[in-house]
Amino acid sequence: MRFGDGFVFCAQSLLKQRMRSLLIVLSMAIGTAGVVLLTWLGDSARRYIVGQFQSLGTNLVIVLPGRNETRGGVPFLLGETPRDLTIADAQALLRSPAIARIAPLVVGGVPIGHGGRERDTTVLGSTRTLMPVRHLVLGSGDFLPDDAQSGESVCVLGATVCEELFGPASPLGEFVRVGNRRFRVCGVLAKGGTSIGTDLDEIVVLPLEASMALFDSPGLFRILVEARSREAIPAAVAECERILRERHRGELDCTVITQDAVVSTFDSILGALTAAVAGIASIALVVAGILIMNVMVVAVTQRKAEVGLLKALGAERATIRRTFLGEALMMSFGGCALGLLLGELGSRAVAHSFPALRGGVPGWAAVAAVLVAGGSGLLFGVMPAARAARLDPVLALARR
């Protein structure tokens, strides 16, 4: 049988059993849509979170005080608390050629007020370099001045904080109370910055020394280090560890992590999660495949006489096999196409309500869905088709 004739022949037989074919196509479509949607969801979540981490900065190395030991046993120096990270430690890191910039960081919660209004905010204390290191974008005014450690009393407001304290008026040059001190507003951050847990609209940035005084804290919360390039990241980590060990009397009592390591950890965790979810969803595809097999087995039994007739008219076994396999494949590919459409629409609908996710099924998921649908059609269609091809024409044509 020619391909076109075979196609028409299969299509006619499926149309004859319209309801049955439709239900099978639907089950295949649901399976496909499930796989595609869940894969898309997992993938979008991964992209979103990785994106968030990447927006933290470029080639970032983060130094935090304290060290988690996993060696077990009694700590070498019982009872000694780790040394604080100091501003001098931070400055010392700049000696390394692998390191381009650093931004020391302290964080705390302090009430901030202007006129009669007051609210609690998260305060970041840092230097001017925080802006390039953390990719902050200014809405108006200027960031902290270069020589911020001099303790000049200026501050940069997050967009929401600014709006709540000043309304539509420009805050530049005005004074705000932060804790028990007064700061002149020198700039406002652009609206809409977020990164992992911190809403940048809700923060106030103060000079490092002023905020350390404000919190009465002797140590730094973090040192953000920007390596010169991606390739320099391992060197930067080693340098950080070497310099800090030197400065802390040969003991490494702080932790150095890289943004890359964090990103790739999340990347692989979420990737695995996506694969697992897709795997679970593909059970639906297997079930749909088994439904196809069931329907085809029934069809072979019902159409015994037709198979016998085709053989009598000179159909080879291969032709019979191809015909029944063709029907199974048409149902699975039809279902797959419908499922892709549903998945595409579904992903757009979800993305519409959650703008952080990007709509549109990734190409590889669509390709995989088509392959899996074709594969299951083939896998579950082969047995009934072979059974049809093996039918003895004499018995198949026997009068009943």
Partner: protein
Amino acid sequence: MIELRAVERVFEVGEQLVHALHGVDLDIGRGEYVSLMGSSGSGKSTLLNVLGLLDRPTAGVYRLDGQDVTVLDDREQAAVRRRRIGFVFQSFHLVPRLTTAQNIGLPLVLAEVRRSERQRRVDEQLRAFGLAERAHHLPDQLSGGQRQRCAIARATITRPELLLADEPTGNLDRATGEDVIAVLEGLHAQGITLLIVTHDPGLGSRAHRQLKMADGRLVADTRRDRAAGAAAGKGAR
């Protein structure tokens, strides 16, 4: 044209061996009109199936035009059925979802004949068998006689040399059966080799050569001249 030599067909039914065909020797020449009669279980359907390559003999040789067809594989046998043998069944065996025209064209679809050529030959058959008006009807919209004519049109569209008819009038009333037999005899008159399996002695006696089977053996083989055959046929009805 047909040469059977010591053909056996043995079925296993439980423990027992049933000899459906027992040492059958038969020669049928090109253009003969043969009827095959016998009580049910006599092996006549098995013989028909063997002749039509739907069944393989357990032993013996079947030569069609001098070619031993028992040794052919599935593909080659399918090709022989496609090109040289036409089947007509008691219960018509039309594909219910296909129209008259599509049913008639089915062998050409299997033979991979091109669409335009197919269309031409189907139209020819529709006209020849008086089914032109019914071309786009489904089998369940046809009368019994029309269904059998459709089946015969399908069986002969590839212009086979051999037409095997298994109780072609078994499901039809007498008048319609008469009509169908006339169609078959018309085909024979055009040169086709016709073999009809039947219960009906009246129908059987119209053939120029009558075979009788019992217990898997050919027990009678009588020939008549054409005029006598025709007269006998008319007399019986």
